[in-house]
Symmetry: C2
Subunit: 242 residues, 2 copies
DNA sequence: CAATGTTTTTATCGATCGATAAATACAACA
DNA sequence: TGTTGTATTTATCGATCGATAAAAACATTG
């Protein structure tokens, strides 16, 4: 319907056309970029594909994707054997290459109060995942039944939640031998899910929210700390720690 | 690829074929149902379409949908003007016609302790929404950018969260004039989101979870109560209430 | 300039999509 | 039983999909 005119569209080939730049239609007026190096072109395809598929979903067409790139559709197949291979590559980039190694040390640095560590971590971490692009890719992938989502959830458990629980127990002087159990993990998921759902409401459904991201994180952490403390007290009533 | 044989497939029309039932291919061996009344057929199309689109997404084809119904594809267009109209109808059924009016009185029945009210409510409510079908429809719809999701979130706020906050304050003897504020709402969303994300993990991504649904609800509510109490104490430190 | 190698485009194929029109099978009624 | 009305199927159209092959445009060398 809204198809834009193609480069040098109907006229097969008129002699004087040679020197004219193809104007790279949809990519904007500024686009002197034809004939990129193979590596650059591949990178660009990947980047723009993420934008494109995040907005329209993975059922978006390759022709429209090419238009978004300012090139033609068959070019995609020089850099990716087929559409699915391109999508798999997107998964990898979006999911796995985003974890900042610094967060590993940040989360376990016991010189800093845990509450503060978590606030810092979640503010940075949510900068990465709480945006329309990441979240939409995440859901599109999940609904397609892709195994990468399971791997992502496992990664969250391992790198964030278990760590968080261990640090919590360390901070409040519980014996290290007493490892957190399944119920504790589910409680940590409550925190993670609450924060995540804020992102869903705000960035996927674009519903007005009441608090800024920082305030929300602070609220969520306060609630989690209070909840977890009370849960620990309930399971093994400690003498008042004054 | 895996296309099943069509009714009286290639042979155009052989005379003796008349009496044979078309066996209604994909609908199972038992299916003596041809020529339903218009109303019944419409209902059936709607019901099976929900199943179908919940599994494959709204980009699923009408031909495969018809196969799932045990009929032919053009029949769909006798009951729905086009595919999108069918989908819109699905939204309406799945989203809006599921609220049980009894929940209104259940949530506000102050003869019952709030903690218990909420446990009962969320167990019943999650029976409705925490299943693959509902959740997948929910996400497919949201990713398509349909406004019905916003209406649903508004409905949750109005019918569940604000009510929950008011009841909480009533139960703990805060002046009714002191209405809950935006921060409180966000805290209630933490509860809702935590419970919802349990459903995402379990029913969308089919990840193993550590607690049963009831246990998870109980944990979530405990945590919320502890968190909200401590938040209220923090905002207005009360003299010890014992 | 001409020769060579890589990038990009043009043109096209077969499959499948949503949708429509016309023919056919069935059920109710006379 | 024959007539009539509705439910259902057969056949098909135009558009679009992913993908491929061949031609053209460009950049890099000599």
């Amino acid at each position: 319907m809204t198809r834009t005119v193609q480069n040098r569209a109907t006229a097969p080939r008129s002699a004087g056309d040679r020197a004219r730049r193809p104007a790279s239609s949809a990519a904007g007026p500024d686009a002197p970029k034809r004939r990129l190096s193979a590596a650059d072109r591949r990178r660009e395809i990947l980047a723009k594909s993420i934008e494109y598929f995040a907005t329209v979903g993975f059922d978006g067409g390759t022709r429209e994707l090419a238009r978004h790139l300012g090139t033609t559709q068959p070019l995609l197949y020089r850099y990716f054997p087929n559409k699915d291979a391109l999508i798999q590559e997107i998964y990898k980039v979006v999911y796995l290459d985003q974890w900042n190694p610094r967060w590993d040390s940040l989360l376990t640095d016991r010189k800093v109060p845990l509450r503060q560590r978590l606030q810092t971590f979640y503010e940075e971490y949510t900068d990465v995942i709480l945006n329309p692009q990441w979240m939409r890719i995440y859901f599109f992938a999940g609904l397609k039944g892709v195994s990468i989502n399971e791997r992502y959830l496992a990664l969250v458990e391992e790198r964030i939640l278990w760590r968080l629980l261990r640090e919590f127990r360390a901070e409040y002087g519980l014996p290290a031998a007493l490892e957190p159990g399944p119920g504790d993990l589910e409680l940590a998921w409550q925190l993670q899910g609450g924060i995540f759902y804020y992102g869903v409401r705000r960035y996927v459904y674009q519903t007005p929210v009441q608090l800024s991201k920082s305030e929300m994180i602070s609220t969520a952490l306060d609630s989690f700390f209070a909840g977890y403390k009370s849960a620990l007290d309930r399971s093994r009533p400690t003498p008042r720690s004054s």
